[in-house]
Amino acid sequence: MIPSLPFDDRKTLVLIQGDPAGIGPELLIKLLLQEGVREGAKLIVVGDPAIFARGETQVGETIEGVRHAPLDAAVEIAEGEILHLDMPVDGIAEVPVAQVSGPGGASSISGLHRALELTRDGIADGIVFMPFNKESMHLGGNEFTDELGYARDFFQLKGRPSEFNVADGMWNGRVTSHVAMKDVPDLLTIPRVEESIHLADRTLKAAGYDRPRIVVAAYNPHAGDGGLMGDEEIRVIGPAVEKAKLKQVNCVGPYPADTLWLKVRDGEYDAVVTMYHDQGQIAIKLLGFDRGVSVLAGLPVPVTTPAHGTAFDIAGENAANVVPALNAFTMCLNMASHRKASAGVSSDRETV
């Protein structure tokens, strides 16, 4: 459940509709219809009105109390209304369902840009975006690899932001992500692993954990078995864990990756730092496939999104599950409100 606060005490969140060809428009409307969403925060939607209308048509519902204003209008939100900042994008209304497109990608980028401005200027406290499509973003002229790269540049960050996946109160950050497996070993360095551990520590502290318990996964089978099956644990990961411990991070490892996830699920640890993409993604999708949230960590403001993608296979069919989007919204609002991020988030477990 999302706590309902007196109107003046509510945080302001920016919602972005996501790629128009995917399930984003539908999810945005479904999200706005969820109990507590409109009462929990002041809401700004950034997007082309045609896509908001597309979502309403797909869901078969009309959202009441939407006030449209120009993209650069001064933000004033009255109780009971949703402020829709209109961001017209050429050709977007004609983008068919389930198709990558330049206008779809351009709207994702411009929407993200405006949302980042609103948080930078202190007008909004957090951002929730519906799924973007990387290929559309590329067609739409994004020179960055993804939204994280864009946000990093926008805030001129020195550190390396990173995506965390969260399901049922289990947090997973990774040292390497979208790289070939053969390139992973060279990227595993003591500074990089240590930086990832610190990022997990900072991210969970910002998400309301006083002293996050972090477990660091090994890279090799059986954590290398004392060097018999690879030495990254001895040479790189172990020393990085020790360095982080000296800086008061509550971390352990490297532990064999196959046996640590049930301990995480059972609440022994709050976060897992994994060495490569599938090491964490296999487990977290297995344990929380229909609930997962991605948190863009390392940014000065909370930014979340459902962990799934644009789901072109079911786009436009009013079949999308709103739970991950609702969880993303709840977590973003919690973080913006300095509450524990997982409070009230839908989960398969009895406690989070």
Binding site: M181, G230, T259, I282, K285, F289
Partner: protein, 336 residues
């Protein structure tokens, strides 16, 4: 032996200083006579108070009361000190495995289940030159190619590479090796799991199965052609799939076994789904072989607290495979 399908399962004792003897006794207590098996090992190594019936022929195990553990005695020079393997016992640990294989090869035993060995103890005590149990069994069977499958009620998964540094995996994967792994898996599922046309889902090596080459080329250049060739030959093989979306319940319903490219890609899902229920199966041997999916657990040996669940699951699966093989009428070696 005419009805080899009904022959008892041979359980090799493994490292007696580990938890093997204890979990063997506990497994008998739980299973009783419902699933006939016999232990090959030294009765002195069993926990004090274990009710034992010594047998001289495997067939006698079928007539031992359910509250007694049938043991085909194999004398070891030393007693078993918990957690401290005796070098003098090492040669006998190996001999027990060879003896069990001989029994299952000639049909006196219907399947082989192996309790864990401690590789280093065997190396130090007897110069054991094999990387592990499985390789030794493959050697005893005539140096046949084998694959390791991990099986539980929720998932069957085969790692195409196993105990090598992860950095070496991309170079270790070959089209020939992968094809062999897939064919052995398909044949094993047909013969020992009664699945006439097994559906095999193959994991990509790279994130998102390489996403068209943007994150590694092996998925497109190595894995995809092997899959395509097997499909052209009529096998229900698909992939390479993005491994992270292969293991939730809806995805698992679409295949009979997954083939992973490396150890943790297979072990993470099976351990996360069913920590104790996972069983190690060796496919490709002429006989059925299963083993629990854990080691000798020296840290808790001799304390009476070892969990027999994985061994029990291994024995049960060996029994099911034995029935499946008998039903499918595949090769069962008659007693010579």
């Amino acid at each position: 032996m005419t009805a080899a399908g009904a022959a008892p399962i041979a359980l090799s004792c493994g490292e007696p200083s580990g938890i093997g003897p204890e979990i063997a006794a506990k497994a008998r207590t739980e299973l009783g006579a419902s699933l006939p098996f016999f232990l090959i090992g030294d009765p002195r190594h069993l926990p004090a108070g274990t009710a034992v019936s010594e047998i001289s022929d495997p067939a006698q195990a079928l007539h031992v009361p359910g509250d007694r553990l049938p043991v085909l005695p194999h004398r070891f020079p030393d007693a078993a000190a918990p957690g401290r393997p005796s070098p003098a016992n090492a040669a006998e640990v190996i001999a027990v495995i060879a003896r069990a294989v001989a029994l299952v090869q000639d049909g006196a035993a219907g399947a082989l289940c192996t309790a864990p060995i401690h590789k280093k103890a065997l190396q130090d005590g007897a110069g054991f030159a094999f990387p592990g149990h499985t390789e030794y069994l493959a050697h005893l069977a005539g140096d046949v190619p084998v694959v390791m499958m991990l099986a539980s009620d929720m998932l069957r998964v085969v790692p195409a590479t196993i105990h090598i540094p992860l950095a070496d995996v991309p170079a270790a994967l070959t089209a020939e090796g992968l094809r062999e792994t897939l064919l052995i898996t398909i044949q094993g599922l047909q013969r020992d799991f009664s699945i006439a046309a097994p559906r095999i889902a193959v994991c990509g090596l790279n994130p998102h199965a390489g996403e068209g080459g943007a994150m590694g080329h092996e998925d497109d250049t190595l894995i995809a052609p092997v899959v395509a060739a097997l499909r052209a030959e009529g096998h229900a093989v698909t992939g390479p799939h993005s491994a992270d979306t292969m293991f939730h319940a809806a995805a698992r319903a679409r295949y009979d076994a997954a083939v992973a490219m490396y150890h943790d890609q297979a072990l993470i899902p099976i351990k996360t789904l069913d920590f104790d229920g996972g069983v190690n199966v060796t496919l490709g041997l002429p006989f059925i072989r299963t083993s629990p999916d854990h080691g000798t657990a020296f840290d808790i040996a001799g304390r009476g607290i070892a969990n027999p669940a994985s061994l029990i699951a291994a024995l049960r699966l060996a029994g099911r495979m034995q029935r499946a093989r008998a039903e499918t009428g595949a090769e069962v070696r008659a007693h010579a």
